[in-house]
């Protein structure tokens, strides 16, 4: 399949995502956002946390990535993530809750250890919410609308 990328996202526990007809991958590299097109030179990069997008024709898949590595070779993009989930796997209500909890904790201004953890929690939940919302706000053009979130 010339001109397409094979994309795999794995964590230590499972295979999270796999396609073989991607046109472009956009990932949160440690040194800034990485854009990867077919025939990219072999690359290994550290990942920070954020959204990873995979463009396939007119569709686009969204994932959250929290740390790990990205490896590109021979039109294969492999992500070894510490934590990763597909947009539709995210529990939006839980993420909102986590975000509120983190914000409340930050407002309290107590011990310093609490603070760092709360900041991390805030970042994680913010990313999750953004990815989950986007998925819902933008169904694939031309395709059927996405099913509503389960209550």
């Amino acid at each position: 399949m010339a001109g397409k990328l094979r994309v795999e996202v794995v964590t230590a526990e499972r295979l999270v995502y796999q396609v073989d007809d991607a046109d472009m991958v956009i990932a949160p590299g440690a040194e800034g956002t990485l854009g990867i097109l077919p025939r990219h030179a072999p690359l290994v990069s550290l990942l920070s946390m954020g959204e990873m997008r995979v463009k396939r024709g007119r569709e686009e898949d969204s994932l959250t990535i929290f740390g790990g590595f990205l490896e590109v070779a021979n039109n294969v993009v492999r992500v070894l993530a510490d934590v990763a989930e597909r947009a539709e796997e995210i529990d939006l209500a839980r993420a909102e809750e986590a975000r509120q909890r983190a914000l409340a904790r930050l407002r309290e201004r107590r011990a310093d250890i609490d603070r760092r953890r709360a900041e991390m929690a805030l970042r994680r939940s913010t990313i999750r919410i953004a990815v989950a919302r986007k998925r819902r706000a933008r169904p694939a053009p031309g395709g059927p609308p996405l099913p509503e979130a389960q209550p």
Binding site: A12, E13, L43, V44, F69, A73, R78
Partner: protein, 296 residues
């Protein structure tokens, strides 16, 4: 018949043994489903593990001029004076000789295979059975982790990895070993010793020598090492978990079989006793009738 066992008593024993068989059969089925899940988890962990291993091998081969590798604390080899031993057992028993075997392996390792005296071991117990053993016999235990071997997750592994890494990098110990049960197949598991730290990088294939690295090879390698430790510990716990559940499944299958054999045997005894009783009663009646006939 020497002992006068009444048929009623035998019947009670049969009933109680049947109940036991029912419980052991249920445990066998639970263990079987947990074993399947653990085996699937082993398979699911493989792609990540293989890539991390391959990248580590290539990078270690590539970045080393040996001096540079020495600069990574997790690769540092020093004379071993003190050892941390992570002993992986199950939380629950009824798993045949699983825990006995892995504990015996650990004791062998500490008393025969290593020259270090016992007081130079820090033992970390993972699983209640190992913890109980160490406490009962007064072995030097520094930490315990329970309730992670039944169904291991990568989050549960992280504190364990952190403890080992910290004790190694601060120089409290000079090596970390893990004793666990390796899963070969449903009928066969084998206790094994794995060196966790210092990390022995796997052989590189040289496949990634002309890669671009972001930010740079040394930083990538540095980030790779702690993940390699987590991955190895996770894999060890999955193996131990698959071993535990299959050992329990087999033990419970044997227990069920034994119970059913016992039931068959007791049923025979019961029927004999019942027959004997009937025969006795009939002959008593006959004797009584005869006596009556003689009188007339």
């Amino acid at each position: 018949m020497p002992q006068a066992v009444t048929p009623r008593e035998i019947r009670r024993r049969i009933r109680s043994i049947k109940n036991t068989a029912q419980i052991t059969r249920a445990m066998e089925m639970v263990a079987a489903s947990k074993m399947r899940r653990a085996q699937q988890a082993v398979l699911a962990a493989r792609p990540y593990a293989e890539r991390i291993r391959a990248m580590l091998g290539d990078l270690a081969a590539m970045t080393s001029p040996q001096e540079e590798v020495r600069a990574f604390p997790l690769l540092q080899r020093r004379p071993i004076r003190r050892i941390q031993l992570i002993l992986v057992t199950s939380d629950r028993g009824l798993a045949g000789s699983l825990n006995t075997n892995v504990i015996r392996r650990a004791v062998d390792f500490m008393t025969r295979e290593r020259p270090e005296p016992l007081e130079n071991f820090d033992i970390v117990a993972v699983g209640r059975k190992g913890r109980d053993f160490l406490v009962r016999y007064g072995w030097p235990m520094v930490a315990e982790f329970t309730r992670i071997t039944d169904r291991p997750s990568i989050e549960a592994v992280r504190p364990l990895a952190e403890l080992a890494t910290q004790d190694f990098t601060t120089g409290r110990v000079d090596a970390v070993f893990v004793v666990y049960t390796h899963f070969i197949n449903t009928l066969k598991q084998e206790p094994r010793v794995l060196q966790l730290l210092p990390i022995e990088p796997p052989e590189g294939t040289g496949a990634i020598s002309d890669y671009i690295f972001e930010p740079d090879p040394v930083t990538v390698l540095e980030a790779l090492l702690p993940r390699f430790i987590e991955m190895q510990l996770y894999r060890v716990l999955l193996e131990a978990s698959a071993s535990e559940h299959s050992a329990r499944m087999v033990a419970m299958r044997n227990a069920t079989q034994n119970a059913l054999d016992l039931v068959a045997e007791l049923t025979l005894t019961y029927n004999k006793a019942r027959q004997a009783q009937i025969t006795r009663e009939v002959s008593e009646i006959a004797a009584g009738a005869n006596a009556l006939g003689a009188l007339q």
